[in-house]
Amino acid sequence: MTINVKTDFKYVGTRPIRPDGLDKVTGRAMYGADLNVQGMIYGHIVRSPYAHAKIKSIDFSEALKLPGVLATMSADDLPDPGDIKIPGGEVDFELKVFSPIIMARGKVFFHAQAVAAVAATSASLAAEAAKLVKVEYEILPHVLDVHAAAREDAPLLHDDVFTQGVDPVPTKPSNVSAQLELKMGDIDAGFAKADLVIERTYCVPMCHQGYIEPHACVAQIDESGKVDIWCCTQGAFMVRTLTSAITGIDVGKFKVTPSEIGGGFGGKTTVYIEPVAVILAQKSGRPVKIVMSREDVFRASGPVSSSETRVKIGVTKDGKITAIDTDIVMDSGAFSSSPIFPAVMFGSACYRCDNIRSSGTEVLTNKPKVYAYRAPGAPQPMLAVECVINEIAQKLNMDPIDFRLLNAVDEGDVPLFGVPFQAIGLKTALREAKKHPNYQAVLKENQGRGVGAAFWINAGMQSSATINVSEDGRINVLTGNPDIGGSRASMALMAAEVLGVPMETIRPTVVDTDSIAYSDLTGGSRTTLATGGAVIKAAEALVEELKKRAAALWALDIKEIEWVDGKAVAANGEKVFTLAELAAKAGVTGGPLCAVASHNAHNAAPSFAVNVCDVEVDRETGKVDILRYTCVQDAGKAIHPAYVEGQMQGGAVQGIGWALNEEYLFNERGELDNAGFLDYRIPVASDLPMIDTVIVEVPNPLHPYGVRGVGEVSICPPMPAVVTAVNQAAGILVCDLPLSPPKVLAAIDA
């Protein structure tokens, strides 16, 4: 499949101010918690104090005695999930792993799991009423460690979970929820050819996406049963689908309006509170607002699988990789939800190697159910593979970038997951990284440098777009994808490019689920590619319509009309209609000007990134300072380069945080000990240097503008770059993240 990829652009590739910028720097932009409606009451969720327990009874009577408490709920108000499957955009969901996160049914599987909820006339009253809800528990033994959980005699979480991917299907339930193995070539033969083999095990802790905006929503139901939800989410249609399935209310009764979203990184690709607000609204007859506390965000939303990756790589003495063998164990929390598949599939995707084996095991423990985080599943195994690659390059006395150039995948190579690469930018990115002045900087004592390369597959999927033209020729572009990092700007730029009009005449709007056709969520690095694809399609249809209108006015055949710089042109430029002129005449040429596009993007293409990190280690305290940081990434075509850089910088810093300080600390009771920004230590401004960026553009051959997804791959290379730099600077080998000062110091002193 080949198409003509456009290379000369007028608007695409420029850096205009984002259309929603004014609202965001003045505080006018409305986020999840910013909507207050008349008659609104407040919901508060009662959470489990135990990591594993049977719910014997729930008694709301004391809570209901408080004047102003208007509704209560528990799992009894939700349909039994049974074996119902929910069709999701990217993957199908099993209702039974979603419904208990909204309200525990019969049993709680992790500390702070939602058990009940109350709604009252003020937030403080609701909080007080929640304390009066009496829940009787029968405490069960819990298990927090994956290895302990995988043992036969471990406390069993679910009696209906049988290890998937094993043949024959086991008859005994297990906390090991899935296993898989992928192979190509002959792994033993590969190692037999190797002159050097290095094997390491790298551990990555459970962490959180760390978005600054807590989950928030307002739900109301009118007398006809129509449900209105306002919420911060990565996907309004996803909220509609999941909330309908969880509450049992028909999907057609929902209208979901996405607010501005204060960060998500995958953590807002599901629901936590919306179904609760809907049921409380239904039972109270009042609009219900729920805002999660920061503590609850950490305890009961989002977290990201911890992992343990054993990797063994063999190379010849001249630096060719002969075999890559990985085993990954991921903690999925209390329900199967970990990204074990991509972890197994993609860990070694940067390297050309005939003999690869990769296995994965997903284990359930009494911790919060994990969810997606930026390139889910990729950073963990790539940390292990990349660190070993760095170690090998060092042992072979080769430059780590040269070593990668020797082994990097290129067009035509077939990775473990089987789909051959088309044109890709890994080698270009590696060369750019090597050329960068930061890579030439001289390292002093106690300083070290690390390199990380990474791959992410990116998603396409369904999107729609509507373009309307006003009487004066201004353009409204409507899409259904929440703008999480500047996507309105890229939508406007692509529409401007097709229509040949300045971006300032285009107003892009993110609309509710009643105002546009279905769109999959903002995630998987897909919005610019897929929703942008829908915008391009709609704009092209609009251009055809405009040409038709001009042809009618001039009594010419449409074939004689050209669309040039926002104008219909005919007769060698003798006849010209501007868009505004055509818009003014729309009423007499066929009615309002508009176009709609429905798009299922099959043209996603992988993106690659290379990071280089320089650090200095304080040998007396184990403290790490980031000195220099360089991100190189293939964007295919950067629609708005400043926001592409932003994705690279943001991903890099999230990865730095994960490498150095971020981790979930559970106590022996299974309670999270650091459920706040004070002790869940995301990087702050003073922790960092400037994050230098180089955008590489190797066009995606499947996309009309050459676009690739850029949002996710950026979080994959930082961990190995940082970890290698620290280990080199200090002359240590710590493989257990985060590389917090006590750990680094202990290794130095060992």
């Binding site: 003045t26 207050n36 979203i261 204060g262 500047g486 706040g676 920004f677 401004a685 960092l688 400037m690």
Partner: protein
């Protein structure tokens, strides 16, 4: 439950006199957002760790979530809603836009308030001074790079460079 008597507070918000009734335990961010509908002040943590609720209180930069609303009697509060004046953005707002220094934008109001406070006190800060001053304004999207550049650039504009 003992019905709590609400307290009447008169204060000044963005130069305008303002009155509200609040519970004694309500914090200023809550009152600004939910009583006065000034939702530009954001809440990210409610414990003073994220800076999204930054406001000026009698000229001092504070987290509105760590101020009791009853404390602001006869005080002078400036919120994000009062920064752009007479239809014109403050240089820091303009520079944040030009540098694409926001992605999701939830931390932006707090960053605007805190940066403006810095530049008014220290018109020509070093990169390091900006970074340390803004350490209490968490941003999870940008990696801070473009924010720091925008603040330095806004400083230059305010100095007339």
């Amino acid at each position: 439950m003992s019905k709590q008597r609400k307290t009447h507070v008169s204060t000044t918000v963005n130069g305008e006199p303002c009155e509200f009734l609040c519970e004694p335990t309500q914090v200023l961010s809550d009152v600004l957002r939910n009583n006065l509908n000034l939702t530009g002040t954001k809440e990210g943590c409610n414990t003073g760790d994220c800076g999204a609720c930054s406001v000026m209180l009698d000229g001092a930069l504070v987290c509105a979530c760590l101020v009791l609303a009853v404390e602001v009697q006869d005080r002078d509060i400036e919120t994000i809603e009062g920064v752009a004046k007479e239809g014109k953005l403050h240089p820091i707002q303009q520079k944040l836009l030009e540098h694409a220094a926001l992605q999701c934008g939830i931390c932006t109001p707090g960053v605007v308030i805190a940066s403006k406070a810095l530049l008014e006190k220290n018109p020509d800060p070093s990169e390091s001074e900006v970074r340390y001053w803004l350490a209490g304004n968490l941003c999870r999207c940008t990696g801070y790079d473009k924010i720091i550049r925008a603040v330095l650039d806004a400083g230059a504009v305010m100095r007339g460079e």
